[in-house]
């Protein structure tokens, strides 16, 4: 992949962007829910299914070796992408939700007992709340809630107040899928570590917008989904420090995750296979390779960086100039181009429905973050989330359509 691409070249790799809906050019601004897929990903997925399909790790035949190399090569690619110490610290899952459940179960089995506490933030996606609630119910532990500051950011001082001698783990997002602000993860991790508490970072949005170095952040777990990062659906990554993963029991039992199986007892495979029970998604996981290449190309593209900045500045200024719009998550210096907002006097669903008919795909509702909606005192919001393939022109069209929709409704 060339290191410098312009927007036209980038967009050409995503056929979905050229779609028309209701006779209008599609403007896809629901990237925080899932990104569109590039040809490099779909072509690889198709080729693997048609030409390199064999179950990994087991058989000695040629195709199995090819598929295994692809799969393990992907693990090394992800390791380098996150700068993990070793590829054994990279566990493939079906997505961020599965990764969060894995940690909540396995870490919980090993380390959480009755009367213990787990800290989550108020701005978490349900996927980083419910698994912890389930763990707490199972163990008789309790959930403590870290609130955001007035801008919508998680702060180390506030975290300190949530930590007690019973706190076993802190689970927080790198970037909230509603607020779109980059939390000071390194400082938050440092704070938790001062008290000997490990930190899980939900990177579902963070990995898309930020360069992540897990050794630099020093987080204990980092997880994300492939599909928000242009890879195939059903792929996900859990990074965990070996010191934790080694001491956690398996999440699921089955093939692949075992060393020996006897009715008198079973011993488990070493990392990372211990956490990869059953047939893995070997046709899809390797699509993380072209997806990561694309992410790296986006990050080194001046054109993309310029356009993203222009979109951010334009939408922030258009929204602040319109007193009908209330934006949530307002800290321009750490804001990604993800805008959740309410319109006074208009229901988010009506707005989304009208925008849809103009070709603009945005999200409406609670965005899998009901506790945050309650905290903000809203029944739901509208969210426009931009990807590196989106253009300033699309942002302008979106704002123009939003104005028209508001005029119809208010």
């Amino acid at each position: 992949m060339q290191s410098e691409m312009d927007l036209t070249q980038i967009r050409a790799q995503f056929p979905a962007l050229d779609t028309h809906v209701y006779g209008k050019q599609l403007v896809y601004l629901d990237n925080a829910a899932t990104a569109q897929r590039p040809l490099s990903v779909t072509e690889l997925a198709s080729r693997l299914a048609l030409e390199e399909n064999a179950n990994i790790h087991r058989a000695v035949h040629h195709l199995a070796a090819l598929a295994t190399d692809r799969y393990e090569g992907t693990r090394e690619k992800v390791r380098a992408f996150l700068n993990a110490r070793e590829s054994a610290e990279i566990v493939f899952t079906s997505g961020a939700t599965a990764a969060a459940n894995l940690v909540a179960f396995s870490f919980g089995e090993a380390f959480v007992h009755e009367g213990d506490e787990v800290v989550v933030s108020v701005a978490e996606h349900h996927s980083n709340i419910v698994p912890w609630q389930m763990l707490c119910a199972r163990k008789g532990a309790s959930l403590k809630v870290l609130e955001t500051d007035e801008k919508g950011l998680l702060q180390p001082d506030a975290l300190e107040k949530c930590i007690s001698e019973r706190t076993k783990i802190v689970a927080i997002s790198h970037i909230s899928n509603v607020l779109g602000l980059v939390n000071p993860i390194k400082q938050l991790v440092q704070k938790a570590h001062q008290f000997g508490v490990p930190v899980l970072v939900d990177g579902a949005q963070g990995i898309v917008h930020e360069q992540v170095d897990v050794q630099e952040l020093d987080c204990d777990f980092y997880l994300f989904s492939g599909h928000k990062l242009y890879a195939a659906t059903g792929t996900g990554v859990l990074y965990g420090k070996r010191e934790w993963l080694d001491r956690m029991p398996p999440f699921m039992g089955g093939g692949e995750m075992i060393h020996t199986v006897r009715f008198s007892g079973t011993t488990y495979a070493p990392l990372p296979q211990k956490f990869e029970a059953g047939t893995q998604n070997f046709n899809a996981v390797p699509t993380l390779v072209p997806a990561i290449d694309l992410v790296l190309a986006f990050r080194s593209s001046e054109a993309v960086i310029r356009e993203q900045k222009a979109i951010l500045d334009y939408v922030l200024s258009a929204f602040s100039a319109d007193d009908r719009i209330v934006l949530y998550g307002h800290a321009p210096e750490v804001k990604i181009p993800l805008f959740s907002f309410a319109v006074k006097g208009a229901h988010h669903e009506d707005l989304a429905l009208i925008l849809d008919k103009m070709g603009v795909a945005v999200r409406s509702g609670q965005m899998c973050a009901e506790p945050l909606m309650d905290h903000l005192g809203v029944s739901g919001l509208l969210r426009a989330s931009f990807a590196p393939y989106n253009t300033l022109e699309e942002a302008r069209y979106f704002v123009q359509c939003l104005n028209k929709a508001m005029d119809m409704l208010i």
Partner: protein, 135 residues
């Protein structure tokens, strides 16, 4: 006007608009003109399940006929329920229960709504039908 005539009229009214945005304008107007919903009926019991926005529906029987009142916090949804009410209010339970609600598909409402909205529409129809069946 008979039920059939009324349905035909709604289909004709709706077909006046080619563009979906114009149809929405029409629904928004219908929603705005819906008579106010009594506050004491705005309860969990009258809330229709399956809608993303909140929809309340209540029925009253007078002289053997059902009269509906409804509300929603989203205006397009309110327009849709208003449309349904205008067709089915003042009919006998037997008449409503025997109807197939096919005109909703004829005006293209179901296909052109988002999936959550379409589910909501199905729930609204089910609720009206339930009121009729329970008589």
């Amino acid at each position: 006007m008979t039920l059939e005539e009324k349905k035909q009229q709604v289909i004709e009214d709706f077909s006046l608009y080619d563009e979906w945005l114009d149809k929405y304008e029409y629904l928004i107007e219908l929603g705005k003109s819906l008579e106010p919903f009594p506050d004491d009926k705005r309860t969990e019991e009258h809330l229709i399940k399956g809608c993303q926005s909140r929809v309340w529906l209540d029925a009253e029987k007078r002289d053997g006929k059902l009269y509906f009142r409804a509300d929603s916090d989203a205006i397009i949804t309110k327009g849709i329920i208003s449309l349904l009410i205008s067709v089915y209010s003042g009919r006998t339970p037997e008449e409503i229960a025997a109807d197939d609600f096919g005109f909703v598909a004829d005006i293209g409402l179901k296909e052109n709504l988002s999936p959550t909205r379409a589910n909501g529409l199905v729930s609204m129809i089910e609720t009206i039908r339930n009121f009729a069946q329970n008589g």
